[in-house]
Symmetry: C2
Subunit: 215 residues, 2 copies
């Protein structure tokens, strides 16, 4: 018997994994990153084949991890997690730092730049093993865990995330609420959602008020 709710107790962070598409920076959101060895320091990160970043990491042989914090603008998750780098320059308007030729998110507590030294293929994801070539702490804030994102920001997983299916099976809560149909952000403002000005945009994915649905 496989109860997929069991998987939800695994702990993850929330990361922007960035690389280059030719000269243009691109990236995606990932939860699955972990340190593997300490000398030399290596990090494994799992990226869906359907993410544009996967092919770009393959080509450039480098990736960077920006570790988001509880204070990071949740809009970063919308920018990097809910649109494709094939269509837009995700770093447009995002404050970034250049590290070893890659762009990392400035609104993060740490970054790590890695060069790919190995990989493992699976049915839907590539696990890239990267040797760390640069890393630093940017600010002292609590790293955002996936549990925090899920409970506090109340977002859902991009559809390429391994956690996607488990979440769809989640028991629906009783209370009525307004939820962004694009990224799952749950409106929790003081005034009733119906009275929110029409210029309102989703704080996570920046979509207009009209994409919100009552649940």
């Amino acid at each position: 018997m496989i109860n997929k709710n069991a998987f939800r107790n695994l702990s993850y962070g929330v990361y922007v994994v960035s690389t280059l598409d030719g000269d243009r920076p691109t990236g995606c959101v990932a939860n699955s990153a972990m340190q593997i060895t300490s000398e030399p320091a290596t990090i494994a990160v799992s990226i869906n084949h359907d993410n544009y970043s996967n092919a770009c990491i393959e080509k450039t042989g480098k990736f960077a991890i920006s570790i988001l914090t509880e204070e990071s603008d949740p809009g970063l998750i919308g920018i990097f997690g809910f649109q494709s780098g094939k269509d837009v320059n995700k770093f447009d308007g995002v404050e970034a730092l250049e590290k070893e030729g890659l762009s990392v998110v400035a609104d993060a507590c740490s970054y790590l730049v890695c060069k790919v030294i190995n990989k493992m293929e699976t049915a839907t994801h590539t696990v890239f093993l990267g040797e760390v070539i640069a890393a630093d702490v940017l600010k002292e804030e609590e790293p955002m865990t996936y549990a925090y994102y899920h409970k506090v920001v109340k977002g859902k997983s991009p559809k390429n995330a391994p956690t996607y299916i488990a979440e769809e099976e989640e028991t629906v809560q009783k209370e009525e609420k307004w939820v962004c149909s694009i990224c799952g952000y749950e409106y929790r403002g003081e005034i009733p959602f119906e009275e929110v000005p029409e210029q309102f945009v989703c704080p996570v994915c920046k979509q207009p008020k009209s994409v919100f649905v009552r649940k």
Copy 2:
């Protein structure tokens, strides 16, 4: 420049990874486990070559992950993380459940049993990719994160963990304290440590009062 403190902002859980040594159950503590694919569900787990469990997983082709919680007995970390399964039967005295032929820790919020379908070797660790063959939720408690273990239980990493070196570089705190020299547990009882009865044992690794050192 590689500042290893940057790595400490990656988020992890605290897991007992168990397998079989012949007919005898054995296991170790791991922080590095993550879901890779959802259909079929697969999990990657990273185990040091020096951990006896590594060779045992290699032989049996199966492992189980028990996800510890904030309420789990921290002594489990001492039992599975600070001694070798070569010398002792780690499951002696541990309440366990039999799942698909493997022992899982009963004092956990979830378990996942996996059969190894791929692996990636690194300098010091094997990353095993396991297809989940059984999984369930055991109780509704907050999963223990590595950050919680570090901050609240105040334990340190077993020396085979990839996080080990980073921790050794940690800035030493000013306040005097009594710390277990075996597992790093910091005494925080109400009465001064000097007045604690001689029968006191470390709640994490069960070593006697005499192994505590003033820091």
